[in-house]
Subunit: 251 residues, 2 copies
């Protein structure tokens, strides 16, 4: 994959509990970190509840638009876990008890002396033709079909599944990132920073305000897929900060 052909991604987090505030999502930030390191651009995230129509619509919108789609949540054994059904519907294939998943789960429950009941068998259901994503934490597999990777919502399991998925994906050239701490708020640096961005079009310069002890400071982040443009922009930003500091000292 060349530096101009960049893999993109979207995330679809599924679960009423994320929308009611009961659960504070941890998987979005985790996925964002991992994709950033892999050089895959996360472009959009959606959160929807446990409603089939909402999942199908969001999934179809995202999978048509991005290289990869990652989902979290809704693949457990209870009645409100409907992600496997919704994904099957989106792809227009039946949702079946996967023989290999039945075997893995059956063997695991037998070892533990636990009944492999109807609810637990739900965790073996996936769209016909889907391929397993290994679950090293609690056995019940995720799955991928087409460009969609379906993973658990429990953060420990999501992270473990992500660890098996990412190395298999075709990434891009990882984005380099340099960060400059500005003691001045965005109001002080805004105009000069806009000019610097204009002079360094091969970089993407972001400005992230922080508010602490009743005053703003700024973290300036330079992103680029190559080293030289990022260095050049960083030099100009350091010079800008020195100039503002000198101006404040003189006034």
């Amino acid at each position: 994959m060349s530096s101009t052909s960049v893999a993109t991604a979207a995330m679809l987090a599924i679960g009423d509990e994320l929308l009611s505030g009961r659960t504070k999502d941890k998987n979005i930030g985790q996925l964002a970190d991992v994709l950033f390191l892999a050089g895959i651009d996360l472009k959009e995230v959606r959160i929807v509840g446990d409603e089939e129509d909402a999942i199908v619509e969001a999934l179809n919108a995202l999978r048509a638009r991005y290289t990869y789609v990652f989902t979290s949540g809704g693949i457990g054994p209870t009645h409100d876990d409907i992600t496997a059904d919704a994904i099957s519907k989106a792809f227009g294939v039946p949702c079946l008890h996967d023989p290999l998943a039945m075997q893995l789960l059956g063997a695991m429950y037998e070892r533990r002396g636990v009944e492999f009941n109807e609810a637990r068998q739900r965790m073996a259901r996936m769209p016909q033709g889907a391929v397993h994503i290994e679950n090293a934490v609690s056995t019940a597999p995720g799955f991928h079909i087409g460009n969609v990777y379906v993973m658990a919502g429990v953060p420990q399991v999501f992270t473990a599944m992500l660890g098996t998925v990412i190395p298999k994906l075709e990434g891009g050239v990882p984005m380099l990132s340099r960060s400059v701490a500005s003691p001045f708020g965005e109001g002080d640096i805004g105009s000069a920073l806009a000019a610097i961005q204009k002079n360094h079009p091969e970089t993407s310069i972001g400005s992230y305000p922080r508010f602490s002890e009743n005053r703003f400071s700024t973290e300036i982040v330079i992103r680029s897929r190559e080293e030289a443009p990022a260095q050049a922009a960083e030099r100009d930003i350091m010079a800008m900060i020195a100039e503002i500091a000198a101006g404040k000292a003189a006034s």
Copy 2:
């Protein structure tokens, strides 16, 4: 507003930093909590980067579908703060320096002896016809236009703005929520819980697995807009847990 007419909401969180993993969003969970208490159903969340087309498209999709849309991020003074422009474009109105916002910000900077420069004046820009959302933390106002409420991304400011917005909204009948801690994992309770949900259609029963010390437990949450159905479902769930516990003790 009657109990059958329920206000719905969506959130649009804006910012490259949320998608790169640099910033872990805190506003989604905050909004979810506040809306839940107000009886407004948060139905969907989207996160997009600082790209005008992406913001316009997501905003237009969400504002057509839900009673209220809340946005966070992109209303600061730097070149990558383009939310006001994007919202204006979505509504088809010009983005202008609002006279009242210019006055508020100008007075604040004058008091502080700080230059009210071009970058800082950017924070006074909003769609023509928009109404201020007060910012008690750092003066620069958010705004609302139509059913869209545009707020800052810095969590302290987002929360302060939300506090002034929510009391003015027409809410619904707040959702009641009861929670039952199940010492058993979803595999043990799944089938019985599905039957209980079927017997209590006026409630929405959710099941939230926890994984800790190498075993699963479950939090079962019953939501309903009325008390009696929630109580009835809770009784059946307690009986189910007692029955499973007795079965395990006997085996």
